[in-house]
């Protein structure tokens, strides 16, 4: 697959990976061995029939390939771009033992893009069942749950606090990895299933979870609000102007289009020399955005080494290609001010790797007397996120000690009829894991509502002993959609 050259792509937000041509896609599909034990399917968090869709690409039945994908994933154009395939399906690909694994993600993306271009949708006859489902949050978890419930015949409303739907796909992931047009197309597909998107609705404050059931007449609720609260480290100088969270930087650039300032009204607020703290996917997105937004030097400051960096291999590789200055084994100690409320430098110290810690990674230990200063005018924190506080503040839902929503194996929460999944339950994870959680919650929600029609793989699992349990006796478990 072709990629734009680094020197070309850092001048704008055009997508780095150009996508396959039809010939390239067919040729790549022919590399699949169609091995009988299908390790890739087990490696996929949602269990996509990977050999199935690849085989149809080889047979030039592209619409058929899309239909196979659509059995399990809603957003192939998104997941083909942002899934960490190298630790999922592609990691266990049989051919990958000796050669490059089949480029499953790129093939998935190619089919997804073709579906958007051709206007394909999984049209099916949906029979309304009279049940109302509310989804809180329009990110990957919420939209996955919404689609499954809509297909089951429920009237689904998705509530989103921002002015446009998509959640992290919209505000977080930059266009050079996931163009907003792809998000628009995938959301439009969901709207065609009859899903209502209500933006500017801050659930918890505009109305509570409890009100959704009573006054507003919903029968079940899914919470997929994500883990959006940025973490800072408490080092001195954090409140200086020029110190921002990666969330703020990315939201300004992606959702608010600050990169078009003053054509769009939101200012961006980054300088010429940017130090980004952290080495995960969000850090890579922040750094590569800054490069495209006019920064002359962008540094990555990370206290561990390259091996421990949590970013996807491809993102790290792209960042290196584009000229990010990586400072491995470097820990920030303080942010120094310029005497005018802004940033002059980041004070750091060298680290070396010691014994493995609880995460299994070697623990970084400071080298005595190694403090130096890195000159910069902008410091971006990309060191992870925490649970958002609003639903905990405004409802009686049970939280775990870190503030995440407590959910059992079926993703049921402490409130009857309320399910939760994605980052708000597990802490920060990937788009595909959140989608998997949304689909799993949908399967549980269907059982809770007494719906038995049309289900994806998750339904094959028996109902386990649960933390909160289903109150099925309250909900008429026999309510089955008439064929």
């Amino acid at each position: 697959m072709q990629e734009r050259a680094p020197e070309e792509r850092i001048r704008g937000f055009m997508e780095v990976a150009c996508g396959y041509t039809p010939d390239e896609a067919i040729r790549e599909s022919e590399r699949c061995l169609f091995c009988p034990d299908q390790p890739c399917v087990r490696g996929c968090p949602v269990g996509i029939d990977i050999p199935g869709f690849i085989q149809l690409i080889g047979e030039k039945d592209f619409r058929g390939a899309f239909d196979v994908l659509s059995d399990t994933t809603l957003l192939p154009a998104v997941c083909g771009r942002v899934c960490p395939q190298e630790t999922q399906c592609e990691e266990v690909c049989t051919i990958g033992d000796t050669l490059e694994p089949v480029a499953i993600g790129r093939l998935e993306r190619w089919v997804g893009d073709m579906a958007i271009a051709e206007g394909w949708a999984t049209s099916q006859d949906i029979e309304p069942n009279g049940l109302k489902v509310a989804i809180v949050g329009s990110g990957p978890a919420g939209t996955a749950c919404a689609a499954d419930m809509a297909k089951a015949g429920c009237a689904v409303t998705v509530f989103e606090a921002f002015q446009q739907p998509g959640g992290v796909l919209r505000y977080g992931i930059p266009d050079f990895r996931l163009p907003n047009e792809v998000v628009d197309a995938e959301i439009a597909k969901l709207a065609r299933l009859g899903i209502t998107f209500r933006c500017n609705a801050l659930v918890g404050r505009l109305f509570t979870i409890e009100q959704l059931f009573g006054e507003m007449g919903f029968d079940a609720v899914f919470i997929g609000t994500g883990a959006g609260t940025p973490t800072f480290t408490d080092i001195p100088g954090e409140s200086l102007n020029g110190v921002v969270s990666a969330n703020e930087l990315l939201t300004r650039s992606n959702l608010m289009r600050a990169r078009d300032f003053p054509g769009h009204d939101t200012p961006l607020g980054i300088g010429k020399r940017v130090a980004v703290i952290g080495a995960g996917n969000t850090a890579m997105d922040a750094m590569r955005s800054c490069l495209r937004l006019g920064a002359e030097t962008v540094m990555c400051v990370y206290r561990r080494s390259r091996v421990e960096a949590p970013a996807r291999a491809e993102e790290l590789h792209h960042a290196e290609q584009e000229g990010i200055d990586f400072r491995w084994l470097t820990e920030p100690v303080a942010i120094l001010d310029d005497g005018k409320g802004g940033v002059r430098a980041l004070k750091v110290r060298r680290m070396e790797l010691g014994e493995p810690d609880a995460s299994g990674r070697r623990r970084p230990v400071p080298v005595p007397g190694s403090e130096t200063e890195i000159e910069c005018d902008t410091v971006v924190f990309a060191i992870g996120t925490n649970a958002n506080a609003i639903l905990g503040q405004t409802s009686r839902i049970e939280l775990d000690p870190r503030g995440y929503i407590k959910a059992d194996a079926d993703l049921a929460t402490s409130i009857d009829g309320v399910f939760a999944g994605g980052d708000i339950v597990t802490g920060a994870a990937t788009v595909i894991e959140a989608m998997g959680a949304g689909r799993k919650a949908a399967a549980s929600m269907k059982r809770y509502l007494g719906l038995t029609a049309g289900d994806a793989p998750y339904d094959s699992e028996p109902l386990d002993a649960t933390l909160f349990g289903f109150a099925s006796h309250q909900r008429g478990f026999a309510r089955v959609v008439a064929a």
Partner: protein, 290 residues
């Protein structure tokens, strides 16, 4: 309770001066949920910025909230020009932030300049909760005064101050607070809303008197839901997010100098945006005159 009520229509517009204007916006669900002390974020158009505005009043029956805006930058000047009755905002989201605690018995509600508007629903709510309410509001001069009658209707005592003495006491709102505390020894709370420098002065005045003083902070923010961290403020030595931990904090604990420095973060960009907009206005009016 319908969720499809969101047209964000401006049902009434009132101009208090050539820079201060009132917008009454139809948002029925939001009007039902709004509590004193909370704020909303509005966008005037799709390319606009999200700006936080404290809720100055709400009418649950009419399904409206009231916002009072000062035209200082590009966005607020453009809103002043474009938002007439019958027009629509692009987005209104909220109510945001923790509501005020209305548990004091004798309270001084202090509003300075634009802060006069958001302190009003608190004065009214305290009155409804049975408290003795002393209103202290301050303006630069007589011409800028608004809502005097509304305050008089909900305050047991009312003190108005002006910088130039053209109305009420000559001096800042701190003079009004001094007068109130001289006459009442049992004041158990001061609520002060206005520019940071005013809130700082109020907090400095009441600190030695040991009167609990609540201030409402309006730092730069984007989402208002705890997601960007742009609104972080220092309170009692720890970092708080004004949007979800506030917007109200103990004024004796707030680091106002930090807040004021952070409010200057985009001064350069704000100037660029304003000058560019004014040039485009001048160009279009010149074209219209041709």
């Amino acid at each position: 309770m319908s969720v499809d009520d969101a047209t964000y229509e401006i049902v009434r517009r009132e101009d208090f001066s050539d820079v201060t204007y009132l917008l009454e916006v139809r948002v029925p669900l939001l009007a039902l949920a709004a509590q004193p002390g909370q704020f909303v974020i509005v966008m005037s158009h799709a390319e606009g910025e999200r700006i936080p505005l404290t809720i100055a009043d709400f009418d649950r029956e009419a399904g409206t909230i009231t916002l009072v805006v000062q035209a200082v930058g590009k966005t607020t000047k453009e809103m002043q020009r474009d938002l007439v009755a019958g027009s629509h905002l692009y987005a209104v989201v909220g109510p945001m932030g923790e509501p005020s605690h209305l548990d004091a018995k004798k309270v001084v509600c202090v509003g300075g300049g634009l802060g006069v508007a958001p302190v009003y629903p608190q004065a009214r709510a305290f009155k409804e909760a049975g408290a003795y309410v002393i209103g202290v509001i301050g303006f630069r001069n007589k011409d800028l005064v608004f809502w005097e009658d509304k305050f008089r209707a909900v305050c047991d005592e009312f003190i108005i101050c002006s910088d130039d003495g053209s109305v009420g006491i000559k001096g800042l709102v701190t003079k009004g607070i001094e007068q109130a505390v001289a006459e009442h020894t049992d004041i158990d709370r001061v609520i002060a809303i206005g520019p940071p420098i005013m809130m700082k002065a109020c907090a400095d005045l009441t600190r030695p008197l040991e009167i609990q003083t609540i201030v409402s902070l309006n730092p730069i923010m984007i989402d208002g839901t705890g997601m960007c961290g742009g609104c972080r403020v220092k309170v009692g030595g720890t970092t708080k997010f004004a949007c979800v931990d506030g917007p109200e904090f103990d004024g004796h604990q707030v680091d106002f100098d930090d807040l004021m420095s952070r409010l200057r973060r985009f001064r350069g960009d704000e100037q660029i945006a304003l000058e560019r907009w004014q040039r485009s206005c001048a160009a279009s009016s010149a074209t219209a005159a041709d």
